[in-house]
Amino acid sequence: MSGLVVRDLQVAYGAVAAIRGVSFEVTPGELVTIIGANGAGKSSLLRALSGLIPVAGGSAMWNELSIFGYKPENLVRAGIVHVAEGKSVIPELTVEENLDLGGIWQKKSAGVDAIKAEVLQLFPRLGERLGQRADTLSGGERQMLAIGRALICKPKLLLLDEPSLGLAPLVIEEIFSAIARLRTSLGLTVLLVEQNALSALAIADRGIIFNLGEVVASGKASELLADPVLRASYLGY
């Protein structure tokens, strides 16, 4: 089965289990969101999938190939790109350098310049600030920069960790609509991790609800939104 297939995944920090046997899949072109409170294990899941931390058990396949045991940079080069939690940009570098970082290992013929132009069209505010250091950007602009850099890496599977974290509602809306547009225009498969259930489920095809390292519910985004029990206990509205 192509796409992302995760089976019985386990992650532990020393004796503490953060993910206790999680299984799910994301079919090609789908946008799936994982919803969960703080400490549910969402970041640990993405960090395991992108090779940043070792796993304690289980498997994960991307287009029928196992992705465990590879260095993060090699997974990025294979199209699995992770935008880490908390506006993952390099503050000491300029906006343009942050963007270019995703392209310097690619061949000139790979069309990096064209993607960069597209990113700047998608996030015009970055284009106005190319020469500025990234630490002078607002939170929303940093998140755009982080996503922009990920796009320049030419992802096939995009792993997004709480892009809404600490942002104002209007900015969240701007970023989420950009994500929604992107995945159709670029044909991306997206795994979006969020605490902001409402915004995430609004653009997702399907949702998976995490609690204490386990899947407690999953289904079509529209169905999850409509389920009164889930709304009360996990979605928080």
Partner: protein, 306 residues
């Protein structure tokens, strides 16, 4: 002869020039330490040892190449390879082992000390502990103006120019090339760099290689003004460290300035007080800088650029 407040102008100028020349060497050494610090957050006490081996290799190659300048190139290549090897075969495995443990800070420092000792011993085994002379075609005699000869020789000039060229080369690499971008990104945020597809481990090896090359230039340029022995560059390590700290340990420009400032300071202490207090002076300068301005002269917040 021109005198100001009873101090001879010629002596002051001479001292200044000598200071700039030895300071250039300190700058190169400091540059090497900063490059390693930036790539792996380790102060590489083996740097002096790596420079010694590189210089000896330059010295050996000169017997076959019959050209000092080509032999300097050989030394540079040897220094780069050695630096890369130390990172790839000792420091990286060690960093993996101690990650997150209480020894994470101390173990790498101790390892570099071990490498320094090993290198000095191996150099002694191969070349003996006697002084050998590695000569440059440039004269070691001071320039003469009319009837006065100053203590600044063509070899001193070569040191200053060589150091300036190396600094300029690194400035260009760091600020205007893809490699430089990768080097800076990896040193600031290794994890984010990995997630952007940068092969951080390789970039670190390159950082160590660059450092090794800079140290080799220092060794190969300074040795013709003195002698070569397995520990003839040890003091350079201390000076380089002081210079790097003055400059802020994270800043390449700071390393350059720190070295020259220290060189001039040492030259005046040597001229007016005596050789034996220079390192105590270095210690006092170091304490002073660390306590008063821990981030170094170039280390204002937000000043961590290359």
């Amino acid at each position: 002869m021109l005198h100001i407040w009873g101090i001879e102008m010629k002596t002051i100028l001479e001292t200044l020039l000598i200071g700039v020349s030895s300071g250039s060497i300190y700058s190169l050494m400091a540059l090497a330490l900063v490059l390693v610090w930036r790539s792996t957050r380790v102060v590489n006490f083996a740097q002096a040892g790596q420079a010694i081996i590189s210089t000896y290799i330059g010295y050996e190659s000169m017997k076959h190449l019959h050209s000092y300048w080509y032999s300097v190139l050989v030394a540079i290549v040897a220094g780069a390879i050695l630096g890369a090897a130390v990172e790839a075969f000792v420091m990286r495995p060690l960093a993996k082992r101690v990650r997150g443990s209480a020894a994470a800070d101390i173990a790498p420092v101790i390892a570099t000390l071990g490498i320094l000792g090993l290198i000095r011993g191996v150099a002694g085994l191969i070349w003996g502990n006697t002084f050998v002379q590695y000569t440059s075609p440039l004269s070691g005699k001071g320039y003469t103006f009319g009837s006065t000869t100053i203590q600044f020789s063509p070899q001193n000039a070569a040191i200053v120019i060589g150091a300036a060229l190396v600094m300029a080369a690194f400035a260009i690499i760091f600020n205007f090339t893809k490699l430089g971008l990768a080097l800076r990104a990896s040193s600031f945020q290794p994890e984010i760099s990995r997630l952007a597809g940068i092969r951080v481990d390789r970039i670190r090896v390159i950082g160590w290689a660059c450092a090794g090359a800079a140290g080799a230039v220092a060794g190969a340029l300074v040795t013709p003004t003195a002698y070569l022995s397995p520990n003839s560059l040890d003091l350079l390590l201390v000076s380089g460290f002081v210079a790097a700290v003055i400059g802020g340990l994270d800043s390449l420009v700071g390393a350059g300035i720190g070295g020259v400032v220290l060189g001039i300071g040492f030259a005046f202490i040597l001229q007016y007080i005596g050789a034996s207090v220079t390192f105590l002076a270095a210690f006092i300068i170091l304490i002073f800088v660390l306590l008063v301005k821990p981030a170094g002269i170039m280390g204002k917040s937000g000043g961590r650029s290359a």
